[in-house]
Each structure stands twice: as structure tokens, then as C-alpha cells.
């Protein structure tokens, strides 16, 4: 699972869902236009806080996706409160009625388009995580045959020729990897994360 890995691997897989989670969190604070610089800075803060001592995800307490979304909300709030002028503008937009940024979190309905993109990106990241998990559960040759035929789009005949094996060896590799993916999909850890 992503929380059992190095920061670079985690970020390689979860960049897009984090991006949409951050955009959604800014939007909930009435912040519709976020500069790319601020977006990137906030994403970096999330990854850093995720991997430093304050890391506190406990899978018994909920979904990893929800944890990431919460982390995004916290880091966005930090960013806004660190920018006095921006905060002032933000408060001005609400006629000074709101005094705490946290109150803004629930002040606005979610943008369904952003939420949907975040859900899709999270599922893509999850499926890719599962495939990476399978990589460590089958032989390198089996995985490569699968990858070449089903991810990179080479024909099974071409792959068989390259590996100097019969066509059915390639078919078996695909069958084996798919079987492992199905096994992982039956594990509660992955199943819980898939249903958003």
C-alpha cells in the first residue's frame, strides 16, 4: 500500500489525486483561482508532512483517501493563514462574518467536477499501486510479458518471439498477473479503498 513506501514512490503514484484534493480544499475556502506555484508548494507540504514524524495514518481508523483529503485540507488552511493579505481578502469576501478559516471549510458545497476528477485519479492511482504490488509477487519475466502486451500494447506473438517462448507462455503470464490482481482486489485493505 502507498503508506508503506518511499516518498518518491508515493508521490509518483498519488500526484494527481493530491492535486485535485488540494484544488477541492482551496475551493472549499472560496479560493477558486490557485496559482500553479501555490498548488505545487501545497502538494509538496502534504508529502513532507505525510512522511515526517507527524505521520499518523492508522488504517483501522478509516480510508487512506480520506486521510489524504484531510491532510490536504490542513495544509491548505496553513497556506491561507500564512498569507495575511490573502487571508484578509478571503475574509473580505465574506463581509467579515467569518473569523476562522476552518469555518470556511464547510461554507461551500463541493465542486462536483473537481471531486469526480479526484475520485477517478484516486482509483487510477490505486490500480497502479496494485499492479506495482503484483510486480513483486511474480517473476520479472512474467511481469514484463504482461506489461509489454497489456500496458505497452505489443502483440502476444511479438512478445513471444522476443522472449523466444511459445505464445501460450505469454497468455499464461497475462492470466497469472490478472489472477494476482484479482487476489489483491479481494483483500480488505484494497477493497476498502476502491469503494469511495
Amino acid at each position: 500500500m502507498p503508506y508503506q513506501t518511499a516518498w518518491s514512490t508515493f508521490f509518483d503514484l498519488y500526484h494527481t489525486p493530491l492535486r485535485f484534493a488540494v484544488l477541492a480544499a482551496f475551493r472549499r475556502c472560496n479560493w477558486d483561482r490557485v496559482s500553479e506555484e501555490m498548488l505545487e508548494e501545497t502538494i509538496a507540504d502534504i508529502v513532507v508532512s505525510f512522511f515526517k514524524a507527524e505521520f499518523s495514518y492508522d488504517r483501522e481508523n478509516g480510508k487512506f483517501r480520506n486521510y489524504l483529503r484531510q491532510l490536504a485540507a490542513w495544509r491548505v488552511r496553513d497556506k491561507i493563514t500564512q498569507l495575511p493579505k490573502a487571508r484578509e481578502t478571503l475574509m473580505g469576501q465574506l463581509d467579515g462574518e467569518t473569523t476562522d478559516v476552518q469555518e470556511l471549510d464547510s461554507s461551500r458545497p463541493p465542486d462536483e467536477a473537481i471531486e469526480e476528477k479526484e475520485r477517478e485519479a484516486y482509483r487510477s492511482a490505486l490500480l497502479t499501486t496494485m499492479l506495482e504490488d503484483v510486480r513483486n509477487r511474480v517473476s520479472p519475466q512474467t511481469f514484463l510479458m504482461f506489461e509489454m502486451t497489456k500496458i505497452l500494447g505489443h502483440s502476444p506473438e511479438e512478445v513471444a518471439e522476443q522472449f523466444k517462448v511459445k505464445r501460450n507462455v505469454v497468455d499464461n503470464a497475462v492470466f497469472r498477473v490478472l489472477g494476482k490482481l484479482k487476489e489483491l482486489a479481494a483483500q480488505p485493505e484494497y477493497r476498502k479503498e476502491y469503494w469511495l
Binding site: 518518491s8 505545487e40 508529502v47 513532507v48 515526517k52 487510477s124 490500480l127 490478472l178 482486489a185 479481494a186
Partner: protein
């Protein structure tokens, strides 16, 4: 639209998939992997990775000073 993975995550791992379900699941998987790989190769990804490295190094330095 319903994903082929919805059935996979719903059903028993021993239940065989129909050839159509299998192909759809593999197509969706390939798309997911390609999307993730494309993001990894983007300049944004490189920039944020560098930012993370710098922030982690800064933290490590602060920690060693204290």
C-alpha cells in the same frame, strides 16, 4: 459508466471473468498506468519532487542543529 473493476472488487477472487470483462479491465488498467506515467514525466512532477527534496533536506538540517 460502470468500470470492469467494480465487478472485480465486488466478486470472489476465484470467480472467472468473462473474456469481455477481462479485456475491459485490462484496458482500464492500461489507461490508469499510462495516466500515472504521463504525470510522472511532466515538468510539474519534477518541480514538486525537487521542492519535496529541498523541504526534507531543510528539515533534516534543522533537526541535526537542534
Amino acid at each position: 459508466m460502470k468500470s470492469a473493476w467494480d465487478s472485480i472488487f465486488n466478486s470472489d477472487a476465484r470467480k472467472p471473468l468473462s473474456p469481455e470483462e477481462q479485456e475491459q479491465a485490462l484496458r482500464e488498467l492500461a489507461k490508469s498506468v499510462t495516466d500515472v506515467s504521463n504525470v510522472q514525466a511532466s515538468p510539474e512532477h519534477q518541480r514538486i519532487s525537487q521542492l519535496i527534496r529541498e523541504k526534507l533536506a531543510q528539515q533534516a538540517q534543522e533537526k541535526s542543529r537542534s
